[in-house]
């Protein structure tokens, strides 16, 4: 059973569903308030969706400096698993834990609807129970979902297999390379725009998102550091 810390910022609004999804997958999940600096021996940290600090200045720009983020960064640097969903993804980009940034949707409208993503990588702590190439139906709910990176960084993300989820059928927000989710170089930090916690049971219209949370449990605690090194070795050779 993994210890899963769901961070709560002022303006988080997917924290309860995210915690419920982690608990439904068998995790020992709990909330950590943004002013806390102790993650309480978390194996996994999740930054949930919402509108932290009202999205003032830029989405995630202020949350990224909240007290808890020091501990989250330390956890990530030590190889601990971190997932950012929607606003959590924006915060991870602002914090520099993931490359790129998220800007206003190309079509300007706030999007709240299902989208389809293809699972591009299955060697992350949050996608290991999916099949490569599998297409999932998961909802998005964002105004600032257009993933933007410099062309050189985009090429590097592709060359090092760091695009985790990619929009298929349509590109709802104008993201570079249809990117819906990315991981960092050591593959322990993942950010995704769609909301898997909103599709983790048949009663919610589908359960394509559930394996994000089951994947966390599927990985053995001791497996992680070895995985990261193996992956890094592979990428060093690329």
């Amino acid at each position: 059973m993994k210890r899963v810390a769901v961070i709560v910022f002022p303006g988080s609004n997917c924290d309860a569903e995210t915690l419920a999804a982690a608990q439904a997958a068998g995790s020992d999940g709990y909330f950590v308030w943004h002013r806390d600096t102790d993650l309480r021996q978390a194996d996994v940290v999740i930054l949930p969706g919402g509108f932290s600090y009202g999205d003032y200045l830029r989405s995630g720009a202020i949350a990224r400096f909240s007290k808890v983020m020091g501990a989250v960064t330390e956890h990530a640097r030590a190889g601990g698993a971190v997932l950012g969903i929607c606003n959590g993804f924006q915060i991870l980009c602002e914090a520099g834990l993931l490359p790129g940034g998220l800007m206003r949707n190309a079509g300007l409208r706030f999007l709240s609807r299902p989208v389809w993503v293809r699972v591009e990588q299955t060697d992350t702590p949050f996608t290991c129970l999916y099949d490569k190439g599998e297409v999932l139906e998961v909802p998005v709910a964002h105004g600032d979902g257009r993933y933007v990176v410099e062309p050189r960084t985009a090429a590097e993300l592709e060359a090092t297999d760091r695009v985790v989820w990619r929009y298929v059928r349509d590109n709802p927000n104008g993201s570079t390379h249809e990117i819906a989710g990315v991981t960092n170089a050591s593959r322990n930090v993942v950010g995704i725009m769609p909301h898997p916690e909103r599709r983790d049971a048949p009663a919610l219209g589908g359960q394509d998102g559930a394996r994000v949370f089951h994947s966390m449990e599927a990985r053995h605690a001791t497996q992680h550091a070895v995985d990261v090194r193996a992956v890094d070795d592979r990428h060093l050779r690329v």
């Binding site: 490359p99 933007v148 990176v149």
Partner: protein, 87 residues
């Protein structure tokens, strides 16, 4: 220490799509302002900064932009300083 008024202009990177600017451009065209060739939209922040000199105010404001006010991945910024003694 003197008070300086620092104006920060944050704009989306020139190479990036600016859908808000485009929407404003279309609205201007719809109102008959056909002479508008391009609109880009950003943010304007006005800071009151206490500093020993104009240069110091500028350097501090630059640090604020680099850390918080602008995102180097998506935005560029410009600074203008006014105020202080001996002006």
């Amino acid at each position: 220490m003197s008070a300086f008024r620092v104006e920060v202009r944050v704009m989306p990177r020139a190479a990036l799509l600016d859908p808000q600017g485009q929407a404003v451009e279309h609205a201007l065209h719809a109102l008959g302002f056909g002479e508008v060739a391009r609109v880009r939209m950003g943010k304007h922040l006005v800071l009151e900064v206490k500093a020993a000199s104009r240069d110091e105010a500028l350097a501090r404001a630059r640090a604020m932009c680099d850390r918080l006010l602008a995102n180097p991945v998506t935005e560029d910024y410009e600074l203008a300083v006014e105020g202080g003694a001996a002006r």
